[in-house]
Point group: C2
Chain length 514, copies 2
């Protein structure tokens, strides 16, 4: 304060709502933190309790939010309450509410209350668990909750893992381990300008997530390094097509290094046949004498294996090398938290370990999680997941997953009984995929596709619910995702009513072709 | 609840401290959230107010924390208070307190109060800003705060950026853009098995952070793809050595694709000479006719450019292509928040854009930040940074940075006046690097190095402060990092007293060689 004696009169500032600490060089004092902190808790409680009354999707136009905020940072401190007011008045209208019970747009996620409080605690502790010794609890709780997750999914104790920010990172790390397992020493020598390297290939189905291709781009395998395998009529990878692709590639000099199977694809939640894919992998390994990594993308779907009656979706997982499951999707943990589990976690260390002198540790200390990936700094993400697992318990999690599956089946039954729409596939998980019936009252296939896109526009304008669409077999389809803890049966009724109204409005609006 | 009628008697459960919602299928209700939320705020207020009384570094032994927690996840829900009790009794002893005012171990970071509250709000909103339309405010506030940061650092409006989880990711993305700018179409074709690719090379000084090498590993450039350039006696990259390295590499068929300069190296906070390095780059580009990307790692140090009298550390930045500055280091934002600023942000999109059908957007909408990197899912990280910048204001940030620089100079003056220790370099930023005087009372160079490591052990056992060590010019050196908002001049006195006591104890403990 003394450096800028004329700038502020502390008393005037307090009248403006500034905290004394803002005029000094420290952080907020404890009493003031309590005051603002309790206000934030009230804000969150009010938000969570009232989000249902807000339009799901923001109605703002591009640039509208930013235009209402100052283009330059404030020179002087501002009252905390002023920022909270802007949060309400400026930012909230620009929020599409992922935590809304009628958010059915993407795989539904819940920032559950114990997870939210976990994030606050993580931010307060603000530790960096890069090394065991830089905060032993961060590493040990991460190891523990990953083991809890492994048990929840019914997997053997051969698996160890780490938490990352998302499935894109988890899959990239797994494929980096696969790349290193080739024995081609990419870690040291890289891939450019080497005459001793074959073309490298990763296989995934045409329904796999785009993160596989992004990982291949990042890792220098390129989009050409990913070969897409066809699917059956339930959108599952065809093992015989995988065999044929590998055989053809080998004839042309490619080296297969990894297969990515999906448990719960983005478009339809289909489950690739892991045992048959593992058979193809084993046969290729026998023939070629090279390792081929089997990675499983269960970012959304694997969580359902927590229920014994659904555990079959992970049949064959013990033959895989890695699995990604995102607790920030269907496990009620606020974004971000992705679990990468591996049967040989050291394969990641083989690819990535680099210990600069300033982080060198004595022998005999605990595991250093920074050794297993690109990221050095590591948030204490385990805390929120630990709180979520404890707060709900295994049976509580199962009860909730089952409720979402039940809700999805109810929506599916409604779709099946509706004259204008039909299921694309029966839902296996908590996402219902359906389309407008072709040659019905919306006209031919092309007109029906146009109408399908207009259903989304209509629902967006209506604002009560949010769906998303995609294209399957050249037909536009609609996706209704469930999985938010706050979605009740009344919200299901709301969703079906809104969709029905949209269909009626479109039909009455020239969509009918008699 | 009805699915497991015999499991729980709600009244008994409430007696155990369970919330009604835990027995059902929903999330915590608003009233219960208020109760637990306010308890968490009290916990955090108590923690921040009392952290100074805790030992900085955890004293637990490997496995000690985990052994006190159940090996399996709880079958039934547990009271929230039980988890908070375990946080106190089991986890806290295993925390090394990065938010402690006497944490001088690594670049000091502050999880400031407005940032902590920002994280709680982010978790409650739980949006994923992968596309503009999936939450316009997330994208627009991120664009805004990055522009505020740009202005704070005194950079031109040519720069745009994105927030990532850390400098390792930011640097990896920048080098991926560099790799694509070669025109070698690595994005599509990859690098393996191509006879048309030269060896590719990235240059950084021997004082550069290990993240450069990790990025090279991930990107398939390999450790051999990074050539290390020597430094001068102030640990700054030598431009003439860079020129010589590039010339030699070109003679041997390598293609230089990027140079990484550092503003604030990890060991000494040295600042590479950006203008001279940019000159070398320009000369090489003129000669070779290929682009060479200049990335600047200012993860820790760039923040200091907020102060006009220190802005010279970024002289030449307008000739660079990218800069990473981590608000979670010296800008009071809880981990994680790293800003990657680029003069041509679209170079990232050129490397990475992939739009799966389900995320296809209409023309004319806002920018989709998922296009600029590996990660698809994007936390609303901008909110906490926005709150921090508003709460402190530009002048408040400068006042705090200046206080840390002043504290570092005070420590440096104390070191310079101490008979047993000496500065390695005068501090430019908020980290003081010093070493035991060789041939002093600790003996020859080797004995002095041993004594230096024992100083760290002694301080760890003492528990009042945490320092770190590294090796420079084959000598063990000690690092005392400042930058936490809660570090007062009294903590500086505590640090110098603890170091002095450690030195005296070692000298009295056989460390003296007369």
């Amino acid at each position: 304060m003394s450096q800028h004696p004329g700038d502020h009169d502390p008393h005037a500032a307090l009248d403006d709502g500034l905290d004394p600490a803002q005029l000094g060089i420290g952080d907020m004092d404890a009493a003031t933190f309590r005051r603002h902190g309790h206000a934030v808790i009230e804000w969150i409680a009010h938000y969570l309790d009232g989000v249902d009354d807000l339009p799901v999707r923001s109605r703002v136009t591009p640039g509208e939010v930013r235009a209402q905020l100052p283009a330059a940072p404030p020179q002087d401190p501002e009252p905390f309450a002023a920022a909270l007011a802007d949060l309400d008045e400026v930012l909230l209208p620009g929020i599409t509410h992922w935590n809304h019970p009628s958010f059915h747009g993407y795989f539904a996620i819940s920032g559950s209350a114990p997870g939210i409080l976990g994030e606050a605690l993580t931010a307060a502790l603000n530790v960096n668990g890069m090394l065991w010794r830089t905060s032993p609890s961060a590493t040990e709780l991460e190891e523990l909750v990953l083991d809890w997750l492994r048990q929840l999914l019914g997997m053997s104790d051969a698996w160890k893992g780490l938490l990352t920010d998302g499935a894109s990172t988890s899959t990239m790390l797994a494929l980096a381990a696969a790349r290193e397992r080739t024995g081609l020493d990419v870690r040291q020598r890289g891939m450019a300008g080497r005459s001793d390297l074959p073309l490298l290939r990763v296989y995934s189905s045409e329904q796999a997530h785009s993160s596989v291709e992004k990982a291949a781009i990042a890792l220098g395998l390129g989009r050409d390094g990913v070969r897409t395998i066809g699917v059956d009529d339930a959108f599952r990878m065809r093992p015989e097509a995988l065999t044929a692709a590998i055989e053809e590639d080998v004839r042309f000099g490619y080296r297969p290094i990894a297969i990515v199977a999906t448990v719960g694809t983005t478009a339809t939640t289909s489950v690739d046949p892991l045992p048959a894919i593992a058979d193809v992998r084993d046969a290729a390994v026998d023939e070629l004498g090279h390792p081929i990594w089997l990675h499983v993308d269960g970012a959304y779907g694997a969580a359902l294996a927590a229920c014994p009656e659904h555990r079959h979706i992970l049949d064959g997982i013990e033959r895989a090398d890695s699995l990604v499951s995102n607790p920030h999707k269907w496990l009620f943990t606020p974004i971000d938290a992705s679990a990468l589990l591996l049967r040989d976690r050291d394969a990641l260390a083989t690819a990535f370990t680099l210990v600069p002198e300033y982080l060198a540790t004595d022998d005999g200390e605990g595991v250093d999680l920074m050794d297993f990936g690109v990221q050095l700094g590591r948030r204490f993400r385990a805390l929120k997941l630990w709180l979520v697992l404890r707060y709900f318990g295994v049976e509580g999690i199962r009860r909730r997953l089952r409720a979402h599956v039940r809700q999805a089946r109810a929506v599916a039954a409604w779709v099946a009984a509706h004259p204008d729409i039909e299921l694309v596939v029966p839902p296996e998980m908590s996402t219902v995929v359906f389309r407008l019936r072709a040659e019905g009252r919306f006209g031919d296939t092309e007109a029906t596709d146009t109408a399908s896109r207009r259903v989304l526009d209509h629902l967006d304008a209506d604002g009560r619910i949010l769906l998303s669409g995609t294209v399957l077999d050249d037909r536009h389809v609609l996706r209704l995702a469930l999985g938010n803890l706050r979605t009740t049966d009344a919200h299901i009724d709301r969703a079906t009513a809104a969709i029905d109204e949209a269909l009626q409005a479109l039909a009455g609006d020239g969509g009918v072709h008699p």
